[in-house]
């Protein structure tokens, strides 16, 4: 008799302890803002916390024991089951599962971690899941992506425009330094505007290229349209003339106005071995003489 009552007291003590433990557990689970749930191997909720009941708008009694197939669309329920079974089979947790979920408030985005749930013997009998609502976060991410895309597009558009402007600038530069063959053997290059280093390179290539292509022994460079002739510009001009002369062409610089002549002398710039004339027509005369040609009236 005495042994039996001792056993009963023992059993009661253990049961009370277990109840107390379970109570404490529930308090902790219910205070966690994430949704916590225990599930078995068949997609059924064994235990849920308060947060879960709130989002599902169902009581604990209504949820515990229910299968996901009852609560969610078939595809979702199957996906949840698959994850559960993966965890149970591997014995390893599956973290950061991001998926959409149907809730009473509509479709939301959630992030879930699932870990194996073992019984007292250590066998895996289900999973414990922790889920948080990331709908807001996802929306913010998507907005950021969209803004990024917009920004990238705008930058690409900006670059495209830049390229067009540069191309047009280049074309304008080209138009303003034509190199013309005015007659057999004579090439004329009227320079207009400021001549910087970049433009000189461009000009030289076309000037010399044209001379060779047309096989012209005389080339005139007219600087009437060059507003200022400072030291730098004069150097560029000399470079172009020197290079052209190396080809074997006679180069004549025309359009040297009184103002330019004054500037050149004042700056102490010498145009060594370069024939210069004040006007294009004077230069043309020299060209004709050089080619032993003359313009005569028709008989």
């Amino acid at each position: 008799m005495k042994g039996e009552s001792e056993n009963i007291t023992e059993i009661k003590k253990i049961k009370d302890a277990l109840d107390k433990q379970r109570e404490e557990q529930q308090i902790i689970l219910d205070s966690v803002p994430a949704w916590v749930f225990y599930k078995d191997k068949e997609n059924r909720f064994i235990r849920v916390n308060k947060a879960f009941t709130v989002v599902m708008e169902m009581s604990k009694e209504q949820l515990e024991g229910r299968s996901c197939f009852d609560l969610y669309p078939k595809e979702s329920a199957e996906a949840y089951l698959k994850d559960d079974l993966d965890v149970i089979a591997s014995g390893k947790p599956k973290r950061n599962i991001i998926e959409s979920m149907l809730s009473p408030k509509g479709t939301i985005w959630v992030q879930t971690d699932k870990i194996p749930f073992c019984n007292a013997q250590g066998d895996i009998i289900g999973i414990i899941g922790f889920t948080i609502d990331i709908t807001e976060r996802k929306r913010a991410e998507e907005e950021l992506n969209m803004l990024n895309k917009q920004l990238t597009n705008e930058i690409a558009e900006g670059k495209r425009r830049e390229k067009i402007i540069a191309q047009q600038t280049h074309e304008i530069l080209e138009l303003s330094t034509p190199v013309l063959q005015i007659m057999d053997g004579v090439v004329v290059a009227p320079l207009i505007g400021t001549i910087d280093s970049e433009r000189t390179q461009q000009f030289m290539e076309r000037f010399l290229g044209t001379i060779v292509k047309t096989n012209s022994p005389v080339a005139l460079v007219d600087i009437t349209g060059v507003p200022t002739l400072d030291t730098k510009t004069a150097q560029h001009l000399i470079e172009a003339v020197t290079a052209a002369t190396l080809l074997g062409t006679k180069v004549i610089v025309t359009g040297v106005s009184p103002a330019i002549a004054q500037t050149l002398v004042h700056l102490g710039i010498d145009l060594p071995d370069i024939t210069t004339k004040s006007s294009l027509s004077a230069g043309l005369k020299v060209a004709l003489e050089y080619l032993d040609l003359t313009i005569a009236k028709k008989q």
Binding site: R206, T210, T214
Partner: protein, 158 residues
């Protein structure tokens, strides 16, 4: 641009030990420059500068190397040539960079010329130890390239 040249490896070395190697330098540099997309005049500039610097090595140091790299930024492609020797070195670098400086054999060092042709030049030298000359040139973006005379609308052809 943004297209890598077709050599596969954007770098290499050419040894300079004989006069024939100076031509090898020219050939290699011509190939790489063309692949970088430099226009014909720029290719000539680069090859000529390389020829001068390679010849410096051969005449003053006897032997050395030219290392080359293709450089690439988001905006442009460039070529870098590094001429290295363990020769007598240059006493006065500043003077050597002056136009018209010669060493008495009638051979100019061609350094100011190389700088003019390439755009970027760096030099380090220690008398008795050797010299390193680095030069760089960048491709002008396509729309900045001068149009060849053959495309010139204003030239009347026979």
């Amino acid at each position: 641009m943004g297209v890598m040249p077709m050599t596969g490896m954007p770098e290499g070395t050419v040894k300079i030990e004989s006069e024939g190697d100076i031509v090898a330098v020219r050939k290699t540099v011509r190939e790489i420059s063309c692949e970088c997309g430099f226009g014909i005049t720029d290719v000539t500039r680069i090859v000529t500068a390389a020829s001068e610097l390679a010849r410096n090595i051969y005449h003053f140091a006897g032997h050395g190397d030219m290392l080359w790299h293709i450089l690439e930024t988001s905006e442009s492609i460039g070529i870098e040539l590094i001429f290295v020797d363990q020769g007598p070195g240059i006493e006065d670098i500043d003077k050597a960079m002056e136009l018209g400086y010669t060493t008495g054999k009638g051979l100019g060092l061609g350094l100011p010329g190389a700088k003019r042709l390439m755009g970027e030049l760096e030099i380090q030298s220690q008398p008795g130890k050797g010299t390193t000359v680095k030069v760089r040139k960048w491709v002008k973006k396509a729309y900045e390239q001068p149009v060849a005379a053959t495309n010139n609308k204003y030239v009347t052809s026979e």
